[in-house]
């Protein structure tokens, strides 16, 4: 069986937990598959892996769907839980998966300290710029001006550039791709998994239900096309002016 194919990754899930709880058009399903495809292509054994996740839609990517040890914890704290699990059993291959609200807002302190500590683990942030599960509230990564249920007139605050934040905090591998760029995303997850030290993958994912429909991106394809048209590679960004880069998202490996 060819690694990374649907037939091959089927043994890495708990079939009884499907269908997933995700809304139609949610990008988390693509990310859920991308992570499994990356692990499968590396030939890693799920029995050696621990998936830690917090609260929110992103936290449900591994728990309960992945057929491995999973630790589904309190809101914002998965990196701190993972730190203890990894320190006491360094043989575990630890992957933390969570949303932008979980990691960048309530869990922001653990995110930067995890990066600073540079413990060997992979952190994948499913960044959909919204609190999806609780009904579409603004997060620290919601772009300025975007409408959410708690910023009905548009977000007055500036967002974090999570990848740049993680570079500054000391993560030793940092990459960003969207679920539209799924081959590149799988490649980045593979690189992150193999990287010794704290590796961070920012996966831009789509939430047409809670984010898109309030921001003229109400269909799943509109959100994917938004990623297609908004994301520019690091190489291309170097050729663009600051003005041209306004409202663009730079994707690629920032540090590796």
């Amino acid at each position: 069986m060819k690694p990374g194919t649907n037939a091959s990754i089927k043994r890495m899930i708990r079939p009884e937990t499907f269908p997933t709880p995700f809304c139609p058009g949610c990008g988390h399903g693509i990310l859920m598959g991308a992570i499994l495809r990356a692990i499968d292509e590396l030939g890693w054994d799920m029995r050696e892996m621990l998936f830690v996740s917090g609260i929110g839609c992103g936290g449900w990517i591994p728990s309960p769907h992945y057929a491995a040890d999973t630790l589904h914890v309190t809101h914002g704290r998965p990196i701190a839980f993972a730190t203890g699990a990894k320190l006491f059993n360094p043989r575990l291959k630890v992957v933390v998966i969570g949303g932008d609200g979980d990691m960048a807002s309530i869990g922001g302190n653990h995110l930067i300290h995890g990066a600073r500590r540079n413990l060997d683990m992979t952190v994948i942030c499913a960044n959909n710029s919204i609190y999806g599960m609780t009904g579409g509230q603004v997060t620290p990564t919601t772009p300025q001006g975007r409408r959410t249920v708690t910023t009905p007139e548009g977000n007055p605050e500036r967002p974090f550039d999570l990848s740049q934040l993680l570079v500054a905090a000391g993560a030793s591998y940092v990459a960003r791709y969207s679920v539209y760029h799924v081959r590149q995303l799988i490649g980045a997850i593979k690189a992150a998994l193999q990287h010794p030290g704290f590796s961070f993958v920012e996966a831009l994912t789509s939430c047409p239900v809670q984010y898109g429909r309030r921001n003229e991106l109400s269909t799943p394809t509109a959100m994917l096309e938004y990623f297609r048209d908004t994301c520019v590679t690091i190489a291309r960004a170097r050729t663009m002016t600051r003005e041209q880069l306004r409202d663009k998202i730079i994707i690629g490996e920032f540090i590796s």
Binding site: L50, D69, L71, V73
Partner: protein
């Protein structure tokens, strides 16, 4: 893999007499009990426990020390380590315990053994960092939200800081529950003699490969990550295998019932009290006290006896589950029941549920209650 159940192991410290600080004795008791993971964050008056662990643990094989970014992360790391197979402990004071409470609830819900030491200081909030108090009795019992049982121990001497910490680990492993060692600044910073035994009796969590980790019996066996069990650990309502059942009222009801029963049904094993100077069938005065204040009450009782009063002490070594049987047995034999404590009556109200005529003596000015003032109060 260590075998589950009771086991006698050599103590780490050489047997003999030591002159130690309460906080140090707590750390040494933890080491004797097999604590192999400590995560913490500095806070007066508990910092010496972390400092002792920072010196000691890295020199002992297979033991891990880490200072985390805050108290929330500290207890989170404990839970992660515990599921990796560790015997884990942290130490803090009232404000830090407040930060730990959400994850303490998580540990209760996921039946994760761990030990939290709270060296109480005067509060609320930052209060008086270097002054003693006993104001966390109810925070320790009810702070995490929801309905649950947990275990809280209250040592009264440096020696008990050592041995009750050993007991805390054993209870945590035996019942798969977080255990709080509720010290106070008075005991934490006190220096006195500890007699360290050659051997320590420890309890290790039971493992049963393939068995349900969250049901099927009162205290289910607990596997670790990396053993191929495909564990589903979640703080949400879950069935015996860890699958989330967040809308199923029967699963929620049965889970809470079991989490409460697995502790309350074993009060006889868990709840330890000590009755001192209570041999007579009738007593003139019975003190009910815990922690540092029990020392003053004991001294006051002895002095009152010299003056002809039949005075005794019921010392609560285990605070929670509460010593209902011991209070019900002793209190009716006393003409007066007095509950002195360095708070506004947190244990008093528990006693009054059983003995309405019990009275309290309180101090919340950051000073310990002295034997002299208790004697004066009794006579006055």
């Amino acid at each position: 893999m260590t075998p589950g159940g009771w086991q006698v192991i050599p103590s780490v410290l050489k047997p003999g007499r030591y002159f130690m600080q309460g906080d140090e004795a707590c750390a040494e008791g933890a080491i004797a009990a097999g604590c192999n993971f400590f995560a913490g964050y500095p806070i007066t008056p508990a910092t010496e426990i972390m400092e002792q662990m920072a010196r000691r643990l890295p020199k002992l094989p297979g033991r891990v020390f880490i200072q985390m970014e805050d108290e929330i992360a500290s207890i989170a790391a404990l839970i992660g380590a515990s599921w990796s197979g560790a015997k884990a402990m942290t130490a803090t004071s009232g404000p830090g315990l407040s930060l730990m409470l959400e994850n303490l609830g998580y540990a209760i819900m996921t039946e994760t053994p761990l030990v939290v030491v709270d060296i109480q200081r005067a509060g609320p909030s930052t209060g008086q960092a270097t002054r003693p108090a006993q104001g966390d009795v109810m925070q320790a019992r009810w702070g995490a939200g929801g309905d649950y049982e947990l275990i809280v121990l209250a040592p009264w001497s440096v020696s008990e800081m050592y041995y009750e910490t050993v007991r805390a680990f054993n209870l945590a492993e035996r019942f798969r529950v977080p255990v709080i060692v509720l010290g106070d600044e008075g005991i934490g910073h006190l220096r006195e003699q500890v007699e360290v035994c050659a051997e320590t009796k420890v309890y290790n969590r039971v493992k049963a490969p393939g068995a349900a980790p969250f049901g099927g019996c009162e205290v289910p066996p607990m596997p670790s990550f990396g053993e191929g069990e495909k564990l589903l650990v979640t703080g949400s309502t879950h069935d015996a295998w860890g699958y989330r059942r967040t809308s199923d009222r029967e699963v929620q009801a049965a889970l809470i019932e079991r989490l409460v029963r697995k502790i309350s049904a074993y009060r006889g094993e868990i709840t330890r009290t000590e009755a001192l100077l209570t041999d007579e069938e009738e007593l003139d005065i019975l003190f009910i006290a815990f922690g540092f204040t029990a020392r003053s009450a004991y001294r006051a009782a002895r002095e009152l006896r010299r003056e002809g009063l039949r005075a005794g002490l019921l010392r609560l070594v285990t605070l929670w589950p509460f010593a209902e049987e011991a209070v019900r047995e002793l209190a009716p034999r006393a003409r007066r029941v007095l509950v002195p404590e360095m708070n506004r009556g947190q244990v008093l109200r528990e006693v009054q549920r059983l003995v309405p005529e019990a009275r309290g003596y309180h101090r919340t000015d950051g000073e310990v209650i002295t034997p002299g003032e208790l004697i004066a109060f009794i006579k006055g």
